[in-house]
Amino acid sequence: MPERKIKIAILSLLGIMIWLLSFTLNEWLIETMPRHQLIQLPSMFFIGVLMGITASHHLKPDLPWSIAVLIFVMFSLLFWMIPHSIDYAVISPGFNRIMHANMLLAGFLTISSIRHTIPEVKIIFLGMVAAMIIAGGIALLSFNILLCSAFTIEQQKQTGTLLTLLGIALYFFMAFILFSSLSKK
């Protein structure tokens, strides 16, 4: 099968996944905080990443642009971790779709920026994202008051635990990247 057809098939599959996550399963995904924060949001980001892989040969940002894009990606993740944003995303379907589009774009741009940047930036980016996720998780765990009006405190704590674990896993991943790049040198 020619490479182009494979790409079209992959992109169609990703399109179907976006449709499922953003429309068909949206009601179910926004029902609880862990589903919204740990399934819908990261899924959109990773679909964006997969789309970015197929296009990364065409996108070759230089160092300033790759740093600028990684700053945008980091702030996008941060923005959708703010309780105010989470609430609006659940209450307003339109705002939720903005979240999906933002995550797709962030994921799409991440791969080409990571590939065309220096190792120091990669490490700082992954480290800061991991730290941000852990901090977000700890904040959700430590507050005994409701931070998002669309969910419950139990869901808030559950999300906090899972986010903290995810952040720790990302830290190990970052350490793996760091040591593997050092061993190559």
Binding site: I67, A68, I71, F72, S149, A150
Partner: protein, 207 residues
């Protein structure tokens, strides 16, 4: 120059978006955002008609005393009762010369569908002893839209979870002066009973 300019510009744009969204990095939850968006203190208490647990219609603005106003709903599984228990302690600790002569407590239900005068009267009876100067009330002949508008002008966020029917809401307590101006907002999640009592007596002294 270009090497620095592009990342810095990206950083500035991102910080600006988050800064605007959180009203200057001060309101990260929808509760604090709604309160801050309602305006600086002092500001007038929005106009509304209410009916109390005795079935008497009144306008809170016509009570020429200080008023301590909070919002609850009777089917609340947890936090509303906890807040009212805290208010009961505050009520009992506060100087007896102040309640009800100088200040009245007003607990308002925002469950327009399920709560009625009979229910709030029964709820009133659950509090131990004589609690004169503490009124339980409901919005009177108010539409859902008008009451939601009243709450947002006041700085209270309310959201009914569609799947459970639970009402998640702000728990702020408002101190309103004789001129019907909101002069203090207490956050019982962050402020102790003593801090709230101190805040109330301080405002009463400043009258």
């Amino acid at each position: 120059m270009r090497n620095v300019f592009i990342p810095i510009l990206s950083l500035i744009i991102c910080l600006t978006v988050i800064g605007v969204w959180t009203l200057g990095f001060s309101s990260f939850t929808i509760f604090s955002y709604t309160l801050k968006k309602a305006g600086e203190l002092p500001r007038p208490l929005p106009d509304i008609q209410m009916i109390n647990h005795e079935g008497i219609v009144f306008n809170p603005g016509e009570i020429k005393k200080y008023k301590l106003i909070n919002f609850v709903y009777l089917n609340c599984p947890f936090v509303c009762h906890k807040i009212n228990n805290r208010l009961e302690q505050i009520y009992n600790k506060i100087d007896t010369n102040l309640v009800p002569n100088e200040i009245e407590f007003l607990t308002v239900s925002f469950d327009l569908k399920n709560d009625d005068v009979k229910k709030i009267k029964n709820y009133h009876k659950l509090f131990k002893g004589e609690i004169s100067g503490w009124t339980f009330a409901l919005p009177y002949q108010s539409t859902d839209r008008y009451f939601t508008d009243f709450l947002s002008k006041l700085g209270i966020w309310k959201y009914t979870v569609p799947s459970t029917g639970l009402i998640n809401h702000s728990i702020y307590i408002f101190l309103v002066n004789r001129q019907n101006q909101i002069v203090r907002v207490f956050d019982p999640a962050r402020e102790s009973d003593e801090m709230i009592i101190q805040g109330i007596t301080q405002c009463l002294k400043e009258k």
